[in-house]
Amino acid sequence: MHSVAVARPLEIERHDDAAGPRLVLRGELDIATAPRLQEAVDAALAAGPQMLVVDLRELAFLDSSGLRQFIVLAGRAEQEGFRLALVRPAPPALAVFQITRAEENLPFVEEPPSS
């Protein structure tokens, strides 16, 4: 039986689209990998873009430490005046957003906005 024997790390791929940076996340987001996402977000926002896209479709796992980051990021978007779009994840990573009902208050989209 094939199974996941070790925790999968987080991969962050950055694309600089015309509309702004887009971060594609793969792997697992938890207290071990959350600081790396924070760094990537800070770097992506350093130039003051009008939009930030975070694509969660290939994220295999996310817990409340990741949820916390997206809640804080949504507040930051409001304060700093950039548009945030979170591309809705698949069920394993969507669970934490649904159970906490944070899904209803975060700017989810089905596809990355076209640039």
């Binding site: 938890d30 934490v96 906490t100």
Partner: protein, 135 residues
């Protein structure tokens, strides 16, 4: 199993329980909920333990016909579970997730602190349709 009290502990704990669930033929939504709760309970022990930094975290996961039971013990002196604080965005979601998704859970202090939860087999992630969600 014993886990070093560092940020890698939740991932290692999830992988171990995932293996156990696979062996028991459990996957799907129950497996997803289990991964989430294991991650929350172990992260909680990593972050909030007041024990010595080199004290390990002990996790015991058992699967019976009734469901999954996970108990995580650290050397800390315990804490009082508090509900989510609306003043702190995103804080306290770990316990909130236990409250919402576990069949039962609790905290016991006896030298160390044990946070445990049980998840019924066949129980799954509550859907948004439950309660007064969007129609």
């Amino acid at each position: 199993m014993e886990l070093a009290r560092d940020v890698n502990a939740p991932g290692l704990a999830r992988a171990a329980v995932f293996e156990q669930l696979l062996t028991a033929g459990v996957d799907g939504e129950l497996g997803q909920t289990a991964m989430l709760l294991v991650s929350e309970v172990v992260s909680n022990a990593v972050r909030h333990s007041q024990g010595p930094a080199d004290a390990a975290i002990a996790m015991e996961a058992t699967i019976t016909a009734g469901g999954l039971r996970v108990a995580v013990t650290d050397a800390g002196e315990g804490f009082t579970p508090r509900p989510r604080d609306p003043e702190q965005p995103g804080a306290g979601y770990g316990l909130y997730l236990l409250e919402r998704s576990a069949s039962s859970w609790g905290v016991e202090s006896d030298g160390g602190t044990t946070v445990w939860f049980e998840l019924d087999l066949g129980r799954s992630i509550p859907s948004r349709a439950a309660g007064s969600g969007r129609g």
